[in-house]
Structures are given as C-alpha cells and as structure tokens.
Amino acid sequence: MWHDAALVAGKDIRIELRSRVLLWQVVPFGVLALILFALALGPSEVALRRGAPGLFWLALLLASVLASGRSASIEAAPGTRNTVRLLGLDPGGVFLGKACALALQLCVLGVVLEAGLLLFFHVDAARLATATPLALLAIAALAAVGTLYGALVAGTDVASTLLPLLVLPALAPVLIAGERGMAAVLAGGGPGRWAVVLVVMAVVYLAVGVLLYGPLEETS
C-alpha cells in the first residue's frame, strides 16, 4: 500500500507541476476570496482581525473544493480509470497517495492565504505561525474528504456541481474546529480541545478513505 501511495502521490505532484492548475487557478481563487471577504468587512482593523480566522478557513475550504475536483479529474477519464484499475494498484494506497498530493497542494495554498491574513487582516505574524500545526491537521482532513468524495462523483456528468454539495457539509466540522482553534491561538491562547477534534477528524476521514476508496471506485 505504501509503495502505491508514494507512486500515486509522485505522479499527481508531477502532473500539477506540469499543468500548474493550482498555481494559476486554485491559489488565485483563494486569494480573491480572501480579498473580497476583507472588502466586505470594511476598513476597520478590529473587525478584520476578529473575522480573520473564519474567513481564512472559509477561503481555504472553498479553494480546497476546486483542488479536490482537479485531483479527482486526473483519474476520471474513461481510458485512465480502466487502465489504472487493470494495473492492480492497492485502492487504499491510491487514496493515500492522492490525499497526500492534495494535502501538499493545500499546504502551499494555506501558506499563501496566511500571507494574505498578514497583508489584509493585520494579524500578528508570530501568533499566526503558532497556528500552523492546527492548519496542517485541518488540511489532512480536507484532503481526505476531498479525495474520498472526488472518487464518489468521478465519472458522473455532474461531478463539478455535485462535489461541493457533498464536500462542504462534510467539512463543516473542520471549518468550525479550525476557526475556533485559530481564533484562540491568535488571541494569545492555545488551540485546546479544537486541536484534538481536528486530530480525530483527520484520522477518521483518512481511515474511512483507505477502507472505502476501493468500493467507491468500483461503483462510481
């Protein structure tokens, strides 16, 4: 399983480096969303600082749906799906590999959005840096859910519209825990139980993905 995961992750990263969909579409979308949120809140520094954690997670969540759709579309072509199924790859390994590649891309996106928080939302840089482990936990959960639901809708004619409908409700707990945890950290405290919530969600989503990816690929 680990060999297959490394193989698939390397392949997805190579495809991203070649196609640059993250660079030219997903990251600009996330930054645009963050700027629009800042404009909606107005010039008040207090309001911007207070709204920063929630809007960061909202922007990351929305952009992660795009990234998940792109990740799923790599495998969605009929010829590709059939050929990959004949290669005998471990489905759990394929899931982990795709989730790892997606998580890496979301990390890049997260760094850019954090820079956006510093620029537009006037948050404290040192405190923002201490929220990074929290963001990594949430990104693991985002990547697991995105990969799982991406496999579910892959091959359907309505994948691009169905994916957000399925992913966003499933990620609502990540949004809440991420926002609360980051707000606590930016206020000078610790993430407390929200970090535990994110660990549990990341582990559960990853485990469910490893178990269900194969059956989903068979039926979708």
Partner: protein
C-alpha cells in the same frame, strides 16, 4: 490447449440495458479471437467483461482460470486493455506514463524505452506530453504498454483504428507475437478481412449475442 476464456449465457448490463444478452464463448490459450459486429453490438462490453471491469449480471464465466463472479480483482492484474481512449495521463509523456504503469505492476522501468522504441515513439514523441500526440501515436503508446507489461490476456478494442498502414502492420505483428508467446488475444473490429488475417477464430456479435462463428485465416494458415 487449455481454455483461456469460457463464457456461458453471459449477461452484462450497461445501466439497465443488457449490452450482452447471453454470450457463449470458448477461447483457447495462446489463440486470437476477433469479435466483429456493428456499432452497439456489444464488442466493447465483451472486452470490459473479460477484463473484469464489468460485473456479470447472470451466466457463468472463467477467464485465465478466474471466476468472473468472484475473482475479478486478481484477473485484472493479468489483463492488458487497449481501449478507444488515451490509456493514462495526458499531462505526462509517453515515457512517464509507461514507467508509471510498469512501477505500478512491480516491473522494471527499464522495459519502457525498448517498448516505446518498438512502436516508433522515440525522441520528442517519447518525452512530449501525451496530449500532444496524435490519435495514432496515442494508440502506439497503448501498444507499448502491452509489450512492456506482457499480460496473459490482450484485449484490443478496434486496435487498427487511427493507425496508419505501418501501424496496422505493426499491430498485427505484435498480436501474432503475443499469441506465439502464449498470451491469449481478443480483438474487436469492423473490418472482417483485416481481422480474419490475424485471428484464429472469429465471432460476430448481434444485439449482444454471438450470431455467427467461423475460423480465421491465422488458424487456416497454421494448418
């Protein structure tokens, strides 16, 4: 020769539509079967059933000793399919695609270069993104994958489509080599004469069932 494929009253659905409606088929190991028929006759569905990609709704079937009802996963690793579409990732080159397939199958990546060379994909054709290759060159890429992986069962969906004259001859040559090496080949075609020249046995599918069966020229030639 042992039977490589045995189907009895095999039914397979595409959605709710019975694309295969009771197919009986026997194919010996190391032989070449050509499935003929008009569009929608069930040729591609037959290949997908034999590859273990499609479940059998009713009937019985064994392919390479694997029961199609229960052993589809182990069967797939022994099957190579050349379909209508580009077989792997358009953003990767032919060489990268082939190396990925070889590593996934646990094979040596060094097999990629000679296989690509055999089908004429060398130099820039091997290193450019696959999306930049013509349809015929993409088909050659699929053939290279079969040469490198050497599956026990070759399933070729209209393999001559999109190929130029030299490519068609190369395809026939590879089919013959594979069969002589012990692999079983099932190919579909609209061109009876072309298919007959490289097949031991031909069946015609009509409405998802075998309506006619006859010997191919390859068998006659050998005899």
């Amino acid at each position: 020769m042992a039977p490589a494929i045995t189907l009895r009253s095999a039914v397979a659905l595409l959605g709710r539509f019975p694309a295969l409606a009771g197919v009986d088929l026997d194919v010996e190991e190391g032989s070449v079967l050509a499935a003929l028929g008009s569009n929608g006759a069930g040729k591609t569905t037959l290949l997908h059933l034999l590859a273990g990609l499609l479940p059998m709704r009713s009937g019985t079937g064994t392919v390479l000793g694997c029961d199609l009802a229960t052993d589809r996963a182990p069967l797939r690793r022994r099957v190579g399919l050349l379909g209508h579409h580009l077989s792997l990732y358009p953003d990767l080159s032919a060489s990268e695609n082939l190396i990925f397939a070889l590593r996934a199958a646990g094979l040596d990546r060094a097999l990629a270069a000679p296989s690509l060379e055999r089908v004429g994909l060398t130099g820039r054709l091997a290193t450019a993104p696959a999306r930049e290759l013509s349809a015929g060159q993409q088909r050659r890429m699929g053939l290279a994958s079969l040469i490198a992986r050497r599956p026990s069962l070759w399933l070729l969906d209209e393999p001559h489509a999109g190929l130029d004259g030299a490519g068609r001859d190369l395809c026939d040559e590879l089919v013959d080599e594979a069969a002589r090496g012990g692999a079983t080949v099932v190919l579909t075609s609209h061109e009876k004469d072309r298919a007959a020249s490289c097949a031991d046995q031909m069946v015609t599918l009509t409405g998802g069932a075998v309506s006619a069966s006859e010997a191919g020229a390859r068998q006659l030639h050998v005899a």
